[in-house]
Each structure stands twice: as C-alpha cells, then as structure tokens.
Amino acid sequence: MLAASVIFYAWWDWRFVFLLFFSSIVDYSLGILLENEHDDAKRKRLIVISIAVNLGVLGFFKYFNFFVGSAAQISNSLGLRANYDTLKIILPVGISFYVFKTMSYTIDVYRRTEKAERNLLRFTTFVVFFPELVAGPIVRASRMLPQLRRDHAFSFERMVSGLTLIASGYVRKVAIADSIAPLVDIRFAHPEAHNALSLLLGVYLYAFQIYCDFSGYSSIAIGLARVFGFDFGINFDRPYFSRSFSEFWSRWHISLSSWLRDYLYIPLGGNRGGTLLMIRNLMLTMLLGGLWHGASWTFVAWGGLHGAYLVLQRFIAPTYQRVIRALRIPAFASNAFLILLVFHLTCLGWIFFRASSFANAWQMLTGMASIHAVHLADIDNRGRILKCLVMVGVLLLFEAAAFLSKREEAVETSPMMRLAFIAACVWVVLIFGSFSGNNFIYFQF
C-alpha cells in the first residue's frame, strides 16, 4: 500500500515525494520523543517544533508569495517603495491535507490521547495513503493507525459498499459538477455580460458544483479505501439541509471542521471565557479556516463571513425560537425557512470563495442586484442549465429521502440493489457526464 501510494504521488511530481517523507520522518520521530519524554517543558518544546515545522512547510509552499505580495501591496498603499520578490513555488498537491494530518498526530501524542507509532513504514503509510492523500478527507491517526495495524482480508460486502460509494461519487463529479463548471466559469469570468437572473443561477449552480465536486471526490476516496478494507467515516452529510450554521459545519467537510474545532477552536478556549472570547475564538477559527482553503483574501473573507454567521446565530437563535413558539409556527415550516435561509447565506459566501478578486465578487453582487434587466430569453445555455437543474433536483430528492427517513444512505444495502444502483450510475455518467477532464476543485487547496 505504501509503494502504491508513493508511485501514485510521484506520478504527479516525484520531487515532492521527498517532502512527504520529510514530513513523515519528522513527525514520526517527534511522536516517539513526545511519548518518551516526561518533562512538561521539554514536551512543550517538542510540540512547538512539530507545529513550527508543519506550519513552516505549509507556509512556505502555500502562503509565501501571498504574504510577500500582500506586504508589497500594503507598502505601496502607504507610499513606501518596496521591492518584494516572489518565488516560483509549485504548490505540492495535498499539502494542506497531509500537514494537518501529521500535525494532529503529534498533538494527540502530546495530549497522550494517542500512542506514538513505532513502525516507520506504518506511519509513512498513514501519511501517504493514496485515497485521501491529495484532497482528504483528513483521516486522523486515532482512526487510521489501528486499522493499519490490522490484517485486511478481502470482504465481498465491503467491496460492494465501496464500489457503490465510488459510483455515486462519479455521478456527482462527472455528471453534475463538471456539467455545471463551464456555466459557472463563464458567469464569474464576465459578470457584465449576464443579467441578474443569469448571475443568480450561476451562484446557485456553483453551490452545487463545489458540493458535488468535493463530496464526489470524498465519496470516491472513502469508497476506494473501503474496497481496500479501511473505514474513513463520512466527510459530507447533506449540508444543504442544515437549519443553522453550526449544523452546516457539522455536515460540510466534516474532517476539516472537526479538525478546526478540536485543534484550534477548543484550544483557543472555545465557548469558555465569556461572550467576547467566544466571538474572538469563532472568528479566528473561521478566518484561519478560510485561509487554509487558499492563499487569497477572498478565502479569508469567506471564512470571516461564516464566522460572522456563527456569531450572529448565537445571539439570534434564542429570540427566533421564542417567536416561533409564540406564533405557533409548525416545525416543518420553520425548518424549511431555516434551510432556505442557511442555503442562501451560504451562497452569498460562495461568491467570495469562487470570485477571482474582491472586484470580481463585487461585480457579481451588483450584477445580481440589477433586477431591472431580467429577461429569461437573455440567459445563455438555457438547455444546459435546465439539464443541470434537473440533475441537481434529482440529487436533492435522493438526499431529502435519506434526510427525512433519517437513514445514512438513500440506497438499499442488498448486493443486488447496489448492483442496480451502480449500473444506473454508469448510465447517468455516460449520458450526462462531462468528459473534458476538469480537475477536482479541492486539489488546489
């Protein structure tokens, strides 16, 4: 498995395999040192070294040019003539994911909630395990290392279950996300050429593009791991059915949001320490979560917006509940309203996430506000949009069925039902898929 993972990664760029090995060896060694050490001060120094090395690697490869560029902009705006050179740095694929994975390992060993792994090959396999290497999910050592210590006999049930996940992932990625991609690209590239309704459709479609792209990748990764006998858990749980932003973040990119909660928000103090500290902790967590996604201020703004949503929700939710009770509004109506509200506010955030700059985001927002120029006939690619909306509708129906029945999966679990489901997925991909070779969006993170 280790050899397969290394070949898989080297296929993209063999030079960065050494970075993977470096990261693995550093955290493997620090893990053992942390476990053996009993002096708290020394242990603290060791964990600081681990965090510094991990964040140093991430900072150099992912954020060096961003911070240098931002510093240059600030200097120039202050009238200082500064000459900052940027470097031609290639962003290693999956670096944000495997750095978080190794960092959480050493923190767990430091907290003594995880035993240090003594087998270097096993530890390296944990770091480079190919299904999750390039775009997650961020599977923690506490879940993965015990599985790597076990033997894995072939299981028919696991294979069928894994293939089902892979098939549903391909439908989301190839049939839905990649069909939507060109419709979204053209709207964000030239907002001035589209009317308000067309831009609004572009934003809605992007919400489903990114969801289907990333949840599709996650399904494929989790399914592939399951075929090999590994359990990664889930990474998405019908996030657009969330009734609050805290619920949204417990359903969207679960492995990242739980990582941020356990290794950033709670260590910062979490909800303890009063309202102001709670607001600071929430905002800081979400701003850094935004920055994790990419070296751009638009990602920071996206994170900040979600931080603000989470803060506001804490203050508004009790009043909202009182109003609902006083007016005797039925639960389903309240839930439907909240689902729509959370979805639309999430879409507002996606504008910043997708926009190439703040100017681009502003163009989208002002374009959508120009409601005087709405003509259905002026919307380009109506046929393709309709096709995408139908597919999104079918996806939501499947998710709603599972959501309302509170089942984990919408598909029956018997092997024959799964066979029929996979065959149907192949047909859907064949007839609706886009085969233009689009990358997964999260590969860039």
Partner: protein, 297 residues
C-alpha cells in the same frame, strides 16, 4: 461460497447488466432521436424533398434563412449548416443526404468555412450509429472515445445535438437566425485585417463535393456570404480565386455586398433582416435559378 467467488460472480453480473441496460436505453433514445425535427434527424430519417440544400458553418446557418428562401423561390429549402462545420464534415453529411433523400436541384455551400477544423465531429457522434461516414470521421478525430462509443452506446448520445434533437421534437429548427442587431460596442471595434487560412483537406473535400454534385446533375453554388464592417477578411478575393480554380465553379463573392450594420448581429453573422436582404441579392443575380451548363470560372 467464498467472498472472492461471490465478488467475481457479482462483478460479471454488474458488467452484464450495465452493458445490456446501456444498449437497451440507447436503443430507446435512438428511436426518440430519429423522430425529431432537428435537421440531422430529418436527414437520417430520410424522405426529404428539398430542392435547395444549404451547407456551411455558422455563417451558413445565419446567412441562408430557409423560410425566406422558400418565400423568395417558392421551392422547398433545407439548411443543414451548423456552427463549426468543416467541408470534410459537410461532405459526409451531403453524401448521407443524397443516399437517403430525394436529390436537390441546387446545393448552396458557404465557402468561408475553409479554415474550420473538425471540432464538430464530437457532436456528430450522436448520429455515428446511423452513418459509417460520420463514424469514420469521429474515429479519426477521437480514436479512444470512438472505441468507448462502440462499447457504450449511451455515450454518443451525450451531446449538445441530442439535447437539440429533444428540443426540436415537435417543431422545425429551420427558423434559426439572429434577430438582434450588432451592438454599439462591436460597431465601435477597429482593427480588422484578418485572413482566412484555407486548410488543404477542406479545399480537397470541397473539390470532391463539387465533383459528386456534378456527376449527379445537381448544381453547386459556391457563395461567400456578407461580412459586416471590420469583419471582412483581407484575402477574400484571393480565397475566392483559389477555390474557384480548384473546383472549377465560380465563387459568388458577396463579402462586401451589405454595408448597413443594422443587417448584422456581429461582424461575421447576418441577422434575419440582413439575411433577407442578402437572399434578395442572390435572387436578383439568378443564384436560385437553374443554369445549364453550370458557370465555369
């Protein structure tokens, strides 16, 4: 039964069900496809009796407005042009048409598509099961996808053409034309001066088309439709000369025939009004009338 044996049986069943279902679904969708009023569905269904046939790329689509041709001439016209159609594809389309339908009297070809590559073949794969010629062109341009299309028959139906066919199930697509007028931003644009670079394989295909038409007693009309303002290629006369000498048919060059930019949707496409003006010019020049023998260059 061991898990490995169960897995083998299950995978075999999956492959069988997938391919059988694919063929069954594709068969059903192909029945829908050939019943459409979309131009190529009509072509492959057969039974058309147009007297004037039009071939070309998007300039062919928007210059030769079929309803206006019928109004002017009183005979049936069928426009088989499509965006990015190269003469090589037009050749396959024409030969297929002649095999399945009554031969037209005149075939109008908009010849500025000489520089177009075969990008449209990926769309025409939808009809590849009905046309060995299109299948061969598709296999030449996309060998891997063509092999996939032989295994999975749903794959060729994954196209813009299939969506068009569904859209035109109950009504004709012959009314395609721009209705809008060239916007001010385009009118203000300067810096034309571009050249058409005819591709040798396209010129060869056009020569073959003309030969086939003459052998069957069908009159070829090689036309250059009008360009608007800055859109006129610099070497238009030269291109007309080259094509005329290679095919032995005089090219009617209307490249600069219409000066009013209100007749254009952009620099290279007429709108409905412009198309009507252009067609009346062609009528005046006797392009729609039969001339025997065909004019020699």
């Amino acid at each position: 039964m061991s898990d490995a044996r169960r897995a083998v049986i299950w995978i075999l069943a999956l492959v069988t069900v997938t391919i059988a279902g694919d063929h069954l679904l594709a068969w059903g969708l192909e029945q829908v496809l050939v019943r459409s009023q979309f131009r190529y569905s009509r072509l492959y269904r057969g039974g058309n009796n147009a007297e004037i046939l039009v071939l070309g790329d998007s300039r062919g689509v928007h210059s030769f407005y079929a309803p206006a041709i019928e109004e002017l001439t009183g005979v049936r016209a069928l426009n088989l042009s499509y965006n990015s159609m190269s003469p090589r594809i037009a050749e396959a389309i024409l030969l297929d048409y002649l095999e399945r339908n009554r031969a037209p009297k005149i075939v109008i070809i908009e010849v500025t598509c000489m520089h177009v590559t075969g990008t449209l073949t990926s769309e025409l794969r939808t009809y590849a099961s009905l046309s060995p010629r299109l299948a061969a062109l598709y296999a030449e341009q996309h060998p891997v996808a063509a092999r996939a299309a032989r295994l999975f028959r749903l794959f060729p139906l994954n196209s813009e053409f299939f969506l068009e066919a569904l859209h035109y199930m109950r009504r004709s697509d012959q009314d395609w034309i721009h209705h809008d007028v060239m916007p001010a931003s385009l009118r203000a644009q300067r810096g034309g001066g571009w050249n058409i670079q005819p591709r040798p394989e396209n010129v060869d295909a056009l020569v073959r088309i003309v030969r086939v038409l003459r052998e069957r007693g069908i009159e070829p009309r090689l036309i250059i439709a009008p360009y608007g303002g800055e859109g006129v290629p610099v070497n238009l006369e030269l291109v007309a000369d080259v094509i005329g000498s290679r095919t032995g048919v005089r090219v009617s060059n209307y490249g600069g025939a219409i000066a009013d930019l209100d007749d254009f949707a952009d620099h290279v496409h007429l709108n409905e009004r412009g198309s009507r003006v252009f067609l009346s010019l062609m009528q005046r020049d006797g392009v729609f009338g039969m001339t025997q023998p065909p004019p020699r260059f």
